[in-house]
Protein backbone atom coordinates (compact mmCIF):
# COMPACT_ATOMS: atom_id res chain seq x y z
CA UNK A 1 0.00 0.00 0.00
CA UNK A 2 2.87 2.32 0.87
CA UNK A 3 4.38 1.57 -2.55
CA UNK A 4 1.16 2.60 -4.29
CA UNK A 5 0.87 5.87 -2.36
CA UNK A 6 4.54 6.61 -3.06
CA UNK A 7 4.03 5.94 -6.78
CA UNK A 8 0.92 8.12 -6.79
CA UNK A 9 2.79 10.98 -5.11
CA UNK A 10 5.56 10.86 -7.74
CA UNK A 11 2.94 10.58 -10.51
CA UNK A 12 1.13 13.72 -9.35
CA UNK A 13 4.34 15.75 -9.13
CA UNK A 14 5.48 14.65 -12.60
CA UNK A 15 2.05 15.21 -14.15
CA UNK A 16 1.94 18.73 -12.68
CA UNK A 17 5.43 19.34 -14.07
CA UNK A 18 4.46 18.20 -17.58
CA UNK A 19 1.25 20.23 -17.55
CA UNK A 20 3.40 23.37 -17.34
CA UNK A 21 4.85 22.59 -20.77
CA UNK A 22 1.77 22.36 -22.95
CA UNK A 23 3.71 23.01 -26.16
CA UNK A 24 5.16 19.54 -25.62
CA UNK A 25 1.65 18.19 -26.14
CA UNK A 26 1.64 19.62 -29.67
CA UNK A 27 5.17 18.31 -30.34
CA UNK A 28 4.19 14.85 -29.16
CA UNK A 29 1.05 15.00 -31.27
CA UNK A 30 3.18 15.74 -34.36
CA UNK A 31 5.63 12.93 -33.49
CA UNK A 32 2.78 10.46 -33.00
CA UNK A 33 1.11 11.54 -36.24
CA UNK A 34 4.35 11.09 -38.21
CA UNK A 35 4.99 7.65 -36.69
CA UNK A 36 1.41 6.57 -37.32
CA UNK A 37 1.46 7.85 -40.90
CA UNK A 38 4.70 6.05 -41.81
CA UNK A 39 3.42 2.87 -40.13
CA UNK A 40 0.16 2.99 -42.06
CA UNK A 41 2.04 3.71 -45.30
CA UNK A 42 4.22 0.63 -44.70
CA UNK A 43 1.16 -1.60 -44.09
CA UNK A 44 -0.60 -0.10 -47.10
CA UNK A 45 2.44 -0.70 -49.35
CA UNK A 46 2.62 -4.33 -48.26
CA UNK A 47 -1.05 -4.91 -49.07
CA UNK A 48 -0.73 -3.20 -52.45
CA UNK A 49 1.46 -6.13 -53.42
CA UNK A 50 -0.11 -9.05 -51.53
CA UNK A 51 -3.33 -10.11 -49.79
CA UNK A 52 -1.74 -11.63 -46.70
CA UNK A 53 1.67 -11.30 -45.06
CA UNK A 54 2.85 -14.72 -43.88
CA UNK A 55 -0.78 -15.61 -43.17
CA UNK A 56 -1.68 -12.29 -41.49
CA UNK A 57 -4.51 -10.24 -42.98
CA UNK A 58 -4.58 -6.44 -43.06
CA UNK A 59 -6.91 -6.03 -40.01
CA UNK A 60 -4.78 -8.48 -38.03
CA UNK A 61 -1.64 -6.51 -38.90
CA UNK A 62 -3.37 -3.29 -37.82
CA UNK A 63 -4.06 -4.91 -34.44
CA UNK A 64 -0.37 -5.85 -34.13
CA UNK A 65 0.66 -2.33 -35.11
CA UNK A 66 -1.84 -0.72 -32.71
CA UNK A 67 -0.70 -2.94 -29.84
CA UNK A 68 2.89 -2.01 -30.64
CA UNK A 69 2.02 1.70 -30.51
CA UNK A 70 0.07 1.33 -27.22
CA UNK A 71 2.92 -0.55 -25.58
CA UNK A 72 5.41 1.95 -27.00
CA UNK A 73 3.39 4.77 -25.41
CA UNK A 74 3.37 3.05 -22.02
CA UNK A 75 7.11 2.44 -22.26
CA UNK A 76 7.81 6.04 -23.31
CA UNK A 77 5.68 7.54 -20.55
CA UNK A 78 6.23 5.19 -17.60
CA UNK A 79 9.26 2.96 -18.13
CA UNK A 80 11.87 4.67 -20.30
CA UNK A 81 12.02 7.97 -18.32
CA UNK A 82 12.72 6.05 -15.12
CA UNK A 83 15.34 3.82 -16.68
CA UNK A 84 17.01 6.75 -18.43
CA UNK A 85 17.19 8.55 -15.07
CA UNK A 86 18.67 5.44 -13.45
CA UNK A 87 21.39 5.27 -16.12
CA UNK A 88 22.15 8.98 -15.77
CA UNK A 89 22.31 8.68 -11.99
CA UNK A 90 24.77 5.77 -12.18
CA UNK A 91 26.92 7.58 -14.76
CA UNK A 92 27.01 10.80 -12.72
CA UNK A 93 27.18 9.21 -9.29
CA UNK A 94 23.75 10.44 -8.14
CA UNK A 95 22.51 6.90 -7.59
CA UNK A 96 23.97 7.08 -4.08
CA UNK A 97 21.10 9.41 -3.15
CA UNK A 98 18.59 6.72 -4.14
CA UNK A 99 20.29 4.10 -2.02
CA UNK A 100 20.18 6.19 1.16
CA UNK A 101 16.41 6.73 0.97
CA UNK A 102 14.11 4.66 3.22
CA UNK A 103 12.37 2.76 0.41
CA UNK A 104 13.20 -0.20 -1.82
CA UNK A 105 15.70 1.09 -4.45
CA UNK A 106 14.08 -0.93 -7.26
CA UNK A 107 10.72 0.60 -6.47
CA UNK A 108 12.18 4.10 -6.28
CA UNK A 109 14.04 3.90 -9.59
CA UNK A 110 10.88 2.56 -11.25
CA UNK A 111 8.40 5.26 -10.22
CA UNK A 112 10.34 8.53 -10.06
CA UNK A 113 9.67 9.80 -13.56
CA UNK A 114 6.65 9.99 -15.81
CA UNK A 115 6.01 11.69 -19.15
CA UNK A 116 2.38 12.67 -19.44
CA UNK A 117 2.26 13.60 -23.12
CA UNK A 118 3.66 10.28 -24.32
CA UNK A 119 0.34 8.77 -23.28
CA UNK A 120 -0.96 10.20 -26.58
CA UNK A 121 0.54 7.11 -28.21
CA UNK A 122 -1.61 4.93 -25.97
CA UNK A 123 -4.72 6.67 -27.32
CA UNK A 124 -3.48 6.58 -30.92
CA UNK A 125 -2.56 2.90 -30.67
CA UNK A 126 -5.91 2.06 -29.10
CA UNK A 127 -7.69 3.70 -32.05
CA UNK A 128 -5.61 1.60 -34.48
CA UNK A 129 -6.39 -1.59 -32.52
CA UNK A 130 -10.11 -0.80 -32.53
CA UNK A 131 -10.11 -0.03 -36.26
CA UNK A 132 -8.31 -3.31 -37.00
CA UNK A 133 -10.68 -5.19 -34.71
CA UNK A 134 -13.71 -3.63 -36.41
CA UNK A 135 -12.45 -4.83 -39.82
CA UNK A 136 -12.01 -8.46 -38.71
CA UNK A 137 -14.42 -10.71 -40.62
CA UNK A 138 -15.13 -12.73 -37.46
CA UNK A 139 -14.88 -10.97 -34.11
CA UNK A 140 -14.66 -12.56 -30.70
CA UNK A 141 -16.83 -11.30 -27.86
CA UNK A 142 -16.06 -9.46 -24.66
CA UNK A 143 -13.95 -12.38 -23.43
CA UNK A 144 -11.38 -11.79 -26.17
CA UNK A 145 -11.31 -8.05 -25.45
CA UNK A 146 -10.70 -8.66 -21.75
CA UNK A 147 -8.10 -11.32 -22.57
CA UNK A 148 -6.38 -8.80 -24.89
CA UNK A 149 -6.21 -6.20 -22.11
CA UNK A 150 -4.87 -8.79 -19.67
CA UNK A 151 -2.27 -10.03 -22.18
CA UNK A 152 -1.23 -6.44 -22.93
CA UNK A 153 -0.86 -5.75 -19.17
CA UNK A 154 1.37 -8.81 -18.80
CA UNK A 155 3.34 -7.53 -21.81
CA UNK A 156 3.92 -4.20 -20.05
CA UNK A 157 5.26 -5.98 -16.96
CA UNK A 158 7.61 -8.12 -19.06
CA UNK A 159 8.89 -5.08 -20.98
CA UNK A 160 9.48 -3.24 -17.69
CA UNK A 161 11.59 -6.22 -16.58
CA UNK A 162 13.57 -6.12 -19.84
CA UNK A 163 14.27 -2.43 -19.44
CA UNK A 164 15.34 -2.84 -15.84
CA UNK A 165 17.70 -5.69 -16.70
CA UNK A 166 19.25 -3.66 -19.54
CA UNK A 167 19.48 -0.55 -17.36
CA UNK A 168 21.28 -2.38 -14.58
CA UNK A 169 24.02 -3.16 -17.09
CA UNK A 170 25.11 0.42 -16.42
CA UNK A 171 26.33 -0.81 -13.02
CA UNK A 172 28.95 -2.70 -15.01
CA UNK A 173 29.56 -0.74 -18.25
CA UNK A 174 28.59 2.78 -17.00
CA UNK A 175 27.59 4.36 -20.36
CA UNK A 176 23.89 3.81 -20.84
CA UNK A 177 22.59 5.91 -23.78
CA UNK A 178 23.40 3.22 -26.28
CA UNK A 179 21.40 0.67 -24.30
CA UNK A 180 18.38 2.82 -25.13
CA UNK A 181 19.38 2.83 -28.83
CA UNK A 182 19.62 -0.94 -28.68
CA UNK A 183 16.24 -1.35 -27.07
CA UNK A 184 14.56 1.10 -29.43
CA UNK A 185 16.02 -0.74 -32.42
CA UNK A 186 14.88 -4.10 -31.12
CA UNK A 187 11.49 -2.70 -30.20
CA UNK A 188 10.81 -1.70 -33.83
CA UNK A 189 10.80 -5.39 -34.70
CA UNK A 190 7.57 -5.75 -32.70
CA UNK A 191 5.66 -3.68 -35.26
CA UNK A 192 5.29 -6.82 -37.35
CA UNK A 193 4.28 -10.35 -36.26
CA UNK A 194 7.37 -12.26 -35.13
CA UNK A 195 6.43 -15.18 -37.38
CA UNK A 196 7.76 -13.27 -40.44
CA UNK A 197 11.32 -13.13 -39.09
CA UNK A 198 14.14 -15.63 -39.66
CA UNK A 199 14.49 -18.28 -36.95
CA UNK A 200 17.41 -16.68 -35.08
CA UNK A 201 15.56 -13.36 -34.79
CA UNK A 202 12.22 -14.99 -33.98
CA UNK A 203 13.93 -16.96 -31.20
CA UNK A 204 15.57 -13.79 -29.86
CA UNK A 205 12.28 -11.89 -29.93
CA UNK A 206 10.58 -14.72 -28.08
CA UNK A 207 13.13 -15.68 -25.44
CA UNK A 208 15.72 -12.85 -25.17
CA UNK A 209 13.66 -9.70 -25.72
CA UNK A 210 10.15 -11.12 -25.43
CA UNK A 211 8.41 -8.81 -27.89
CA UNK A 212 6.54 -11.83 -29.20
CA UNK A 213 4.98 -12.14 -25.77
CA UNK A 214 4.41 -8.42 -25.27
CA UNK A 215 2.98 -7.47 -28.69
CA UNK A 216 2.21 -10.46 -30.91
CA UNK A 217 0.46 -12.55 -28.23
CA UNK A 218 -2.04 -9.82 -27.19
CA UNK A 219 -2.76 -9.16 -30.89
CA UNK A 220 -3.22 -12.89 -31.52
CA UNK A 221 -5.57 -13.09 -28.53
CA UNK A 222 -7.78 -10.34 -29.94
CA UNK A 223 -7.76 -11.65 -33.51
CA UNK A 224 -8.64 -15.19 -32.33
CA UNK A 225 -5.36 -16.74 -33.50
CA UNK A 226 -4.73 -18.20 -30.04
CA UNK A 227 -7.02 -19.29 -27.23
CA UNK A 228 -7.51 -16.91 -24.25
CA UNK A 229 -6.59 -19.81 -21.95
CA UNK A 230 -2.98 -19.14 -23.04
CA UNK A 231 -3.13 -16.31 -20.49
CA UNK A 232 -2.57 -18.82 -17.69
CA UNK A 233 0.74 -19.76 -19.28
CA UNK A 234 1.42 -16.06 -19.81
CA UNK A 235 0.85 -15.34 -16.15
CA UNK A 236 3.34 -18.05 -15.21
CA UNK A 237 5.94 -16.69 -17.67
CA UNK A 238 5.46 -13.15 -16.33
CA UNK A 239 5.86 -14.28 -12.71
CA UNK A 240 9.07 -16.10 -13.64
CA UNK A 241 10.44 -13.04 -15.50
CA UNK A 242 9.63 -10.76 -12.53
CA UNK A 243 11.44 -13.12 -10.12
CA UNK A 244 14.49 -13.41 -12.42
CA UNK A 245 14.58 -9.62 -12.87
CA UNK A 246 14.62 -9.16 -9.09
CA UNK A 247 17.57 -11.54 -8.80
CA UNK A 248 19.46 -9.78 -11.61
CA UNK A 249 18.74 -6.39 -10.05
CA UNK A 250 20.19 -7.52 -6.73
CA UNK A 251 23.22 -9.14 -8.36
CA UNK A 252 24.00 -6.04 -10.44
CA UNK A 253 23.30 -3.70 -7.53
CA UNK A 254 25.97 -5.53 -5.56
CA UNK A 255 28.44 -4.50 -8.30
CA UNK A 256 27.59 -0.81 -7.89
CA UNK A 257 30.25 1.41 -6.39
CA UNK A 258 29.40 5.07 -5.85
CA UNK A 259 30.94 7.53 -8.28
CA UNK A 260 29.59 10.81 -6.91
CA UNK A 261 31.90 13.72 -6.50
Amino acid sequence: MRSVSLAWAFFKVQAAHDLQYRANFVLQLINSAVALFTGLVAVSLVFQHTDTLAGWSRPELLIVMGTHIVLGGVIASLIEPNMRKLMEDVEQGDFDFVLVRPADPQLLVSIRNFRLWNLIDVVVGAVVVVSGFADLPVRGGAVRSVAFLAAAALGVVVMYCMWLILSTLTFRIVKGDEIIDLFQGVYQAGRWPVSIYPNWLRGSLTFVVPLAFAVTVPAETLSARIDPSFLVVGLGITAAVVAITRLIWRANLAKYSGASG
Binding site: I30, A35, T38, D51, D177, I179
Partner: protein
Amino acid sequence: MIGRYYLAQARQGLLHDLQYRTAAAFSLFGFLLEPVIYLAVWRSVAIARGGAVAGYSLDQLTAYYVVWSLVRAMNLALTPYTWEWRIQSGRLNDLLSRPIHPFHHDFAFFAGQKIVWITLWLPFAVVLWFTFRPSIEVTPLRVGAFAVAIWLAFTIRHMFQFLEGAVNFWTTRTSALFQLMVGVELLLSGRLVPLALMPGWVERLAGWLHFKWTFQYPIEALIGKLDDGAILTGLATQLLWIGVFAVAIRLVWGRAIRRYTAVGG
Protein backbone atom coordinates in the same frame (compact mmCIF):
# COMPACT_ATOMS: atom_id res chain seq x y z
CA MET B 1 45.53 23.67 -40.37
CA ILE B 2 42.11 22.28 -41.20
CA GLY B 3 43.69 18.99 -42.34
CA ARG B 4 45.43 18.51 -39.00
CA TYR B 5 42.27 19.47 -37.13
CA TYR B 6 40.34 16.84 -39.11
CA LEU B 7 42.91 14.17 -38.31
CA ALA B 8 42.94 15.03 -34.61
CA GLN B 9 39.17 15.22 -34.34
CA ALA B 10 38.65 11.97 -36.31
CA ARG B 11 41.14 10.33 -33.95
CA GLN B 12 39.07 11.62 -31.02
CA GLY B 13 35.94 10.05 -32.52
CA LEU B 14 37.78 6.78 -33.10
CA LEU B 15 39.21 6.68 -29.57
CA HIS B 16 35.86 7.63 -28.05
CA ASP B 17 34.14 4.66 -29.66
CA LEU B 18 37.05 2.34 -28.95
CA GLN B 19 36.83 3.29 -25.29
CA TYR B 20 33.07 2.64 -25.22
CA ARG B 21 33.08 -0.22 -27.73
CA THR B 22 30.37 -2.25 -25.96
CA ALA B 23 28.13 0.79 -25.96
CA ALA B 24 28.92 1.42 -29.65
CA ALA B 25 28.10 -2.22 -30.45
CA PHE B 26 24.75 -1.92 -28.63
CA SER B 27 23.94 1.23 -30.51
CA LEU B 28 24.90 -0.22 -33.88
CA PHE B 29 22.98 -3.44 -33.29
CA GLY B 30 19.88 -1.37 -32.49
CA PHE B 31 20.26 0.56 -35.75
CA LEU B 32 21.01 -2.50 -37.84
CA LEU B 33 17.89 -4.39 -36.87
CA GLU B 34 15.93 -1.92 -38.99
CA PRO B 35 16.96 -3.45 -42.37
CA VAL B 36 16.37 -6.97 -41.04
CA ILE B 37 12.78 -5.97 -40.26
CA TYR B 38 12.20 -4.50 -43.73
CA LEU B 39 13.94 -7.43 -45.37
CA ALA B 40 11.79 -9.98 -43.53
CA VAL B 41 8.61 -8.11 -44.50
CA TRP B 42 9.49 -7.72 -48.18
CA ARG B 43 10.89 -11.22 -48.55
CA SER B 44 7.54 -12.50 -47.28
CA VAL B 45 5.77 -10.32 -49.87
CA ALA B 46 8.12 -11.42 -52.68
CA ILE B 47 7.70 -15.10 -51.74
CA ALA B 48 3.90 -14.66 -51.74
CA ARG B 49 4.17 -13.22 -55.27
CA GLY B 50 6.30 -16.03 -56.60
CA GLY B 51 9.78 -14.67 -55.92
CA ALA B 52 9.76 -11.03 -57.10
CA VAL B 53 8.09 -7.72 -56.33
CA ALA B 54 8.14 -4.49 -58.41
CA GLY B 55 11.12 -5.66 -60.47
CA TYR B 56 13.13 -6.77 -57.44
CA SER B 57 13.96 -10.46 -57.29
CA LEU B 58 14.32 -12.13 -53.91
CA ASP B 59 18.10 -12.00 -54.34
CA GLN B 60 18.11 -8.32 -55.23
CA LEU B 61 15.84 -7.44 -52.29
CA THR B 62 18.15 -9.32 -49.96
CA ALA B 63 21.23 -7.66 -51.42
CA TYR B 64 19.47 -4.28 -51.13
CA TYR B 65 18.90 -4.56 -47.40
CA VAL B 66 22.27 -6.16 -46.60
CA VAL B 67 24.05 -3.27 -48.34
CA TRP B 68 21.52 -0.93 -46.70
CA SER B 69 22.96 -1.90 -43.32
CA LEU B 70 26.42 -0.70 -44.35
CA VAL B 71 25.04 2.51 -45.85
CA ARG B 72 23.17 3.12 -42.59
CA ALA B 73 26.30 2.61 -40.51
CA MET B 74 28.10 5.03 -42.82
CA ASN B 75 25.52 7.80 -43.07
CA LEU B 76 24.85 8.19 -39.35
CA ALA B 77 25.41 11.86 -38.61
CA LEU B 78 24.99 14.32 -35.76
CA THR B 79 21.30 14.79 -35.03
CA PRO B 80 19.56 18.14 -34.46
CA TYR B 81 18.85 16.94 -30.90
CA THR B 82 22.50 17.61 -30.08
CA TRP B 83 22.15 21.14 -31.44
CA GLU B 84 19.04 21.62 -29.32
CA TRP B 85 20.98 20.52 -26.24
CA ARG B 86 24.03 22.62 -27.12
CA ILE B 87 21.99 25.78 -27.51
CA GLN B 88 19.72 25.21 -24.50
CA SER B 89 22.63 24.33 -22.21
CA GLY B 90 25.06 26.94 -23.54
CA ARG B 91 27.59 24.25 -24.52
CA LEU B 92 27.78 25.83 -27.95
CA ASN B 93 30.00 28.56 -26.43
CA ASP B 94 32.85 26.10 -26.30
CA LEU B 95 32.59 25.32 -30.00
CA LEU B 96 32.24 28.97 -30.98
CA SER B 97 35.45 29.87 -29.17
CA ARG B 98 37.46 27.62 -31.51
CA PRO B 99 39.06 29.04 -34.66
CA ILE B 100 37.23 26.60 -36.90
CA HIS B 101 33.65 26.19 -38.10
CA PRO B 102 31.62 23.82 -35.83
CA PHE B 103 30.58 21.88 -38.92
CA HIS B 104 34.13 20.56 -39.32
CA HIS B 105 34.32 19.64 -35.63
CA ASP B 106 31.33 17.30 -35.84
CA PHE B 107 31.96 16.02 -39.36
CA ALA B 108 35.52 14.92 -38.53
CA PHE B 109 34.43 13.35 -35.22
CA PHE B 110 31.74 11.26 -36.91
CA ALA B 111 34.09 10.36 -39.77
CA GLY B 112 36.56 8.96 -37.24
CA GLN B 113 33.85 6.89 -35.59
CA LYS B 114 33.10 5.17 -38.91
CA ILE B 115 36.20 3.01 -38.54
CA VAL B 116 34.84 1.43 -35.34
CA TRP B 117 31.32 1.23 -36.74
CA ILE B 118 32.38 -0.55 -39.91
CA THR B 119 34.50 -2.98 -37.89
CA LEU B 120 31.50 -3.72 -35.68
CA TRP B 121 29.26 -3.97 -38.77
CA LEU B 122 31.35 -6.79 -40.31
CA PRO B 123 30.17 -9.65 -38.03
CA PHE B 124 26.60 -8.40 -38.40
CA ALA B 125 26.98 -8.48 -42.20
CA VAL B 126 28.38 -12.02 -42.03
CA VAL B 127 25.31 -13.16 -40.04
CA LEU B 128 22.98 -11.44 -42.52
CA TRP B 129 24.88 -12.89 -45.48
CA PHE B 130 24.71 -16.45 -44.24
CA THR B 131 21.09 -16.08 -43.10
CA PHE B 132 19.74 -14.73 -46.38
CA ARG B 133 22.55 -15.57 -48.87
CA PRO B 134 22.12 -12.73 -51.38
CA SER B 135 23.95 -12.77 -54.69
CA ILE B 136 25.68 -9.63 -55.91
CA GLU B 137 27.68 -9.42 -59.09
CA VAL B 138 30.21 -6.69 -58.51
CA THR B 139 32.43 -4.90 -60.98
CA PRO B 140 35.40 -2.64 -60.20
CA LEU B 141 33.34 0.41 -61.26
CA ARG B 142 30.48 -0.52 -58.93
CA VAL B 143 32.77 -1.13 -55.96
CA GLY B 144 34.73 2.05 -56.60
CA ALA B 145 31.59 4.14 -57.09
CA PHE B 146 30.05 2.66 -53.94
CA ALA B 147 33.16 3.44 -51.88
CA VAL B 148 32.92 7.09 -52.95
CA ALA B 149 29.10 7.26 -52.85
CA ILE B 150 28.79 6.20 -49.19
CA TRP B 151 31.13 8.98 -48.09
CA LEU B 152 29.25 11.49 -50.23
CA ALA B 153 25.98 10.16 -48.78
CA PHE B 154 27.35 10.71 -45.27
CA THR B 155 28.41 14.24 -46.25
CA ILE B 156 24.97 15.11 -47.69
CA ARG B 157 23.16 13.72 -44.66
CA HIS B 158 25.49 15.45 -42.22
CA MET B 159 25.03 18.78 -44.04
CA PHE B 160 21.26 18.47 -44.12
CA GLN B 161 21.08 17.61 -40.43
CA PHE B 162 23.40 20.54 -39.69
CA LEU B 163 20.85 22.80 -41.42
CA GLU B 164 18.03 21.19 -39.42
CA GLY B 165 20.06 21.76 -36.26
CA ALA B 166 20.50 25.42 -37.19
CA VAL B 167 16.70 25.85 -36.96
CA ASN B 168 17.25 25.67 -33.18
CA PHE B 169 18.65 29.19 -33.32
CA TRP B 170 15.14 30.40 -34.16
CA THR B 171 12.91 27.97 -32.26
CA THR B 172 15.14 26.26 -29.61
CA ARG B 173 13.00 23.13 -30.10
CA THR B 174 13.32 21.15 -33.29
CA SER B 175 12.51 17.63 -32.18
CA ALA B 176 9.12 17.70 -33.93
CA LEU B 177 10.70 19.00 -37.14
CA PHE B 178 13.39 16.34 -36.93
CA GLN B 179 10.81 13.60 -36.42
CA LEU B 180 8.91 14.93 -39.41
CA MET B 181 12.08 14.83 -41.51
CA VAL B 182 12.84 11.28 -40.36
CA GLY B 183 9.36 10.31 -41.59
CA VAL B 184 9.94 12.04 -44.94
CA GLU B 185 13.36 10.40 -45.23
CA LEU B 186 11.88 6.97 -44.51
CA LEU B 187 9.45 7.35 -47.37
CA LEU B 188 11.52 9.25 -49.94
CA SER B 189 15.05 7.88 -49.55
CA GLY B 190 14.60 4.19 -50.19
CA ARG B 191 15.20 3.59 -46.49
CA LEU B 192 11.82 1.94 -45.84
CA VAL B 193 11.49 0.26 -49.24
CA PRO B 194 13.18 0.63 -52.63
CA LEU B 195 11.39 3.53 -54.31
CA ALA B 196 10.26 1.22 -57.13
CA LEU B 197 7.78 -0.24 -54.63
CA MET B 198 6.27 3.18 -53.99
CA PRO B 199 3.56 4.77 -56.16
CA GLY B 200 5.02 6.37 -59.32
CA TRP B 201 4.46 9.95 -58.16
CA VAL B 202 6.42 9.30 -54.95
CA GLU B 203 9.31 7.91 -56.95
CA ARG B 204 9.28 10.95 -59.25
CA LEU B 205 9.11 13.35 -56.27
CA ALA B 206 12.03 11.55 -54.61
CA GLY B 207 14.15 12.17 -57.69
CA TRP B 208 13.99 15.92 -57.04
CA LEU B 209 15.05 15.72 -53.39
CA HIS B 210 18.34 14.81 -51.74
CA PHE B 211 17.12 11.90 -49.58
CA LYS B 212 17.40 9.24 -52.27
CA TRP B 213 21.09 10.06 -52.79
CA THR B 214 21.89 9.20 -49.18
CA PHE B 215 20.29 5.72 -49.15
CA GLN B 216 18.99 4.20 -52.35
CA TYR B 217 21.60 5.46 -54.79
CA PRO B 218 24.71 4.00 -53.07
CA ILE B 219 22.89 0.70 -52.53
CA GLU B 220 21.70 0.39 -56.12
CA ALA B 221 25.12 1.43 -57.42
CA LEU B 222 26.63 -1.65 -55.76
CA ILE B 223 23.93 -4.27 -56.28
CA GLY B 224 23.71 -3.81 -60.03
CA LYS B 225 20.38 -2.01 -60.41
CA LEU B 226 22.09 0.90 -62.22
CA ASP B 227 24.07 0.91 -65.46
CA ASP B 228 27.48 2.58 -65.63
CA GLY B 229 26.06 5.85 -66.96
CA ALA B 230 23.51 6.09 -64.12
CA ILE B 231 26.24 5.36 -61.56
CA LEU B 232 28.38 8.23 -62.79
CA THR B 233 25.39 10.58 -63.08
CA GLY B 234 24.51 9.64 -59.50
CA LEU B 235 27.95 10.60 -58.22
CA ALA B 236 27.65 13.94 -60.02
CA THR B 237 24.19 14.47 -58.47
CA GLN B 238 25.58 13.77 -55.00
CA LEU B 239 28.30 16.38 -55.58
CA LEU B 240 25.65 18.81 -56.77
CA TRP B 241 23.67 18.35 -53.54
CA ILE B 242 26.83 18.88 -51.50
CA GLY B 243 27.36 22.14 -53.37
CA VAL B 244 23.76 23.23 -52.75
CA PHE B 245 23.98 22.47 -49.03
CA ALA B 246 27.40 24.13 -48.73
CA VAL B 247 25.89 27.36 -50.04
CA ALA B 248 22.85 26.92 -47.77
CA ILE B 249 25.05 26.38 -44.70
CA ARG B 250 27.09 29.47 -45.51
CA LEU B 251 23.94 31.57 -45.83
CA VAL B 252 22.10 30.11 -42.84
CA TRP B 253 25.00 29.92 -40.37
CA GLY B 254 25.87 33.60 -40.71
CA ARG B 255 22.30 34.58 -39.87
CA ALA B 256 21.82 31.89 -37.23
CA ILE B 257 24.87 32.73 -35.17
CA ARG B 258 23.84 36.37 -34.93
CA ARG B 259 20.68 35.24 -33.10
CA TYR B 260 22.59 33.20 -30.53
CA THR B 261 22.73 34.40 -26.96
CA ALA B 262 24.65 32.16 -24.59
CA VAL B 263 22.65 30.42 -21.88
CA GLY B 264 24.68 28.90 -19.06
CA GLY B 265 27.64 26.79 -20.09
